[in-house]
């Protein structure tokens, strides 16, 4: 017990240090400008956006656990809804922090709150993200305060609807980019929704496993079996969406150059796509889940971890690879200029970007660790599974 207590504070201190390092990176970026990052006029969104979008998408997806409980009435998931909501809040806070602090003028955040351009999906997202935060807080409240327990169902419905719109909004950020070959597809919002299911559940699995081990409890194998299968289905679903997205592109002659770049000869990007996303993020986890004899607690933990790593690989390829490929301003022509026209843009992320990204993760980590200690987020299963 004493050792655990010490470990807890050590973990908290470590998280605090990482968050502090993130703040220091922000300070330096504020002082020197974005020139100290690897981002430039060609790769305008970099590693911080990979971290931020992962956290925001996973924050939405992790609520799937809660929705299956509150909306579809499955007791097994209902018991896990508070933990799922907490993780959602934590990741949303971490992701939004990274996104906000990467702005060129984070000090003007009040400008974003008081000046709204209704045609901008970013402006919609300001409403969607803050609304989501508020809704999940209310939802959590209805679950934790016995007197308003009956309100859980409507609150759960609201969260269910809201997070679909929220992840649609995240996908639309890219879907609305008319001129970029990597983006501008109506497939992106649904793709992000399915990806959010897999990533959110993977994060949930990781935290739940650690929580059970920490509390010297064992997860009922029957529950593990069901959640494991659900993760498998979500991973297959997300791989399908990504595959369809690339397949449609491969069919359009004008997109073949871009697809070649991302899938075959783009250096780090095809490597990250095939090895990082397809193999580590999908094939290995699916093997760990479905291979006869595997699929035990440790396998599912490893599979979840790999799904998360695969998510980072995919987002890196999607966000940075998508910008690295040159815009086709002159179809049918080769172009060159002092501003990178017709050339693959170079990007080398700097340490400060990683510090900011991990700082956001640390905020999510601290929020979760403190909350599970001071409040009861441990899933309370009934002695038998009713559904």
């Amino acid at each position: 017990m004493y050792f655990k207590n010490r470990l807890y504070y050590a973990l908290l201190a470590a998280g605090g240090l990482v968050a502090l390092a993130g703040m220091y990176a922000v300070h330096l970026m504020e002082d020197h400008g974005h020139v100290i990052t690897g981002m430039n006029n060609q790769i305008v969104w970099g590693v911080p956006h990979v971290f931020a979008i992962f956290m925001i998408v996973a924050a939405s997806g992790v609520l799937n656990v809660a929705s299956i409980g509150s909306v579809f009435g499955k007791a097994l998931y209902k018991a896990r809804a508070p933990l799922a909501s907490l993780l959602s809040l934590a990741m949303l806070a971490g992701g939004l922090m990274v996104l906000m602090l990467d702005l060129g003028r984070p000090d003007r955040i009040i400008v974003a709150a008081t000046n709204t351009n209704l045609t901008s999906v970013f402006a919609w997202n300001v409403v969607l993200y803050s609304g989501m935060f508020a809704l999940v807080v209310v939802y959590l409240w209805t679950m934790m305060e016995r007197r308003i327990n009956p309100m859980t169902k409507p609150a759960g419905f609201a969260v269910f609807a809201w997070r679909f719109i929220l992840t649609t909004g995240t996908g639309l950020i890219f879907a609305f980019l008319t001129a970029r070959q990597a983006y501008g597809s109506a497939l992106l919002p649904p793709m992000f929704i399915v990806l959010s299911f897999a990533w959110g559940l993977a994060v949930f699995h990781l935290v739940q496993t650690i929580l059970y081990v920490w509390n010297d409890k064992a997860l009922d194998p029957a529950i593990m079996q069901r959640k494991r299968n659900l993760l498998g289905v979500f991973v297959i679903g997300s791989l399908y969406m990504v595959a369809v997205c690339h397949l449609t592109n491969l069919y359009f002659a004008q997109q073949v150059g871009f697809e070649r770049f991302i899938l075959v000869d783009g250096g780090i990007y095809p490597n990250l796509f095939w090895w990082g996303y397809v193999v580590i993020g999908n094939l290995v986890p699916l093997t760990l889940i479905y291979w006869p004899g595997l699929g035990k607690s440790r396998c599912v933990f490893a599979a979840s971890l790999m799904v998360v790593l695969g998510a980072f690989a995919l987002l890196y390829v999607f966000i940075i690879g998508g910008q690295a490929y040159p815009l086709n301003i002159f179809p049918g022509y080769e172009a060159s200029s002092s501003f990178g026209d017709g050339q693959i843009a170079a990007y080398r992320p700097s340490i400060y970007e990683f510090m900011l990204g991990f700082g956001g993760l640390a905020i999510a980590f601290i929020t979760t660790t403190v909350s599970v200690r001071v409040l009861n987020f441990m899933p309370q299963d009934k002695p038998y599974i009713t559904d």
Partner: protein
């Protein structure tokens, strides 16, 4: 005489003084900023016709003029601002080479304005697309949305700015069509500096303007016309 309320009189005096102090800097700064009392007219649509046959490969006079006029460093590293750039293109099937200047195309339906969360990117009523440096939060979404890669982000602290062209670290910027010159009846710096007069600037809405007559009589194209953004910059000889 004892009817006079001195407190009331003093209050009026103080109020008058305070109002004068509040308004005076505005009036003075308006003058310093060469502000004009009359509003910009929506009857005008400023545009350019660029004759690529007259644009010489390797000549960067327009770029130099732009940098000087707008106080840009002229650096060409990946983090330097470039409001105008020379692009050399070669037709893949024929090998025909063309050289041309590339800048903000001042679209009628600018994607940068659509995506800007705060409304910092805006289109003036006379068609000039600008960034309000006080509203820009530096999210760079407009840079992602621009089909012409016309925008730059200020990556470093700035020094020795041109007072007519305020810029700011952490905000996005692009060609303003030299709005400060246009408002004073002058041509944009690039158009004026071109030794071959390859850049023709004028009012696309005025049927009698030189640019309108030229656009009617010679074949010219808009870049990425498939996007239907109706750009104000047209290219001849592509």
């Amino acid at each position: 005489m004892s009817d006079i309320d001195l407190r009331r009189r003093n209050f009026f005096k103080t109020s008058l003084g305070a109002a004068a102090v509040a308004i005076a800097p505005g009036i003075l700064l308006f003058d310093v900023a060469h502000g004009k009392p009359q509003a910009v007219s929506g009857k005008v649509r400023w545009g350019m016709l660029i004759d690529t046959t007259q644009c010489r490969e390797g000549c960067t006079d327009c770029v130099t003029a732009c940098n000087k006029e707008n106080g840009l460093s002229g650096g060409t590293s990946a983090t330097d601002s470039q409001w105008i750039r020379k692009v050399e293109i070669k037709e893949i099937s024929t090998g025909r080479k063309v050289s041309l200047p590339m800048m903000c195309q001042h679209c009628e339906k600018p994607p940068c304005v659509d995506v800007c969360p705060t409304g910092a990117s805006f289109k003036r009523i006379d068609g000039i697309v600008l960034v309000d440096r006080h509203l820009c939060i530096g999210c760079r979404y407009c840079m992602m949305a621009c089909p012409y890669k016309a925008r730059s982000f200020v990556h470093e602290p700035l020094h020795n700015q041109n007072p007519d062209v305020p810029r700011g670290k952490g905000t996005v910027e692009s060609c303003t069509l030299c709005v400060h010159r246009v408002d004073n009846g002058q041509q944009p710096a690039c158009a004026e500096s071109c030794p071959n007069r390859a850049i023709l600037f004028g009012d696309l809405n005025d049927p009698e303007s030189e640019i309108s007559r030229k656009v009617r009589s010679v074949a010219s194209v808009q870049l990425r016309a498939d996007l239907a953004l109706n750009t104000a910059i047209r290219y001849q000889g592509l």
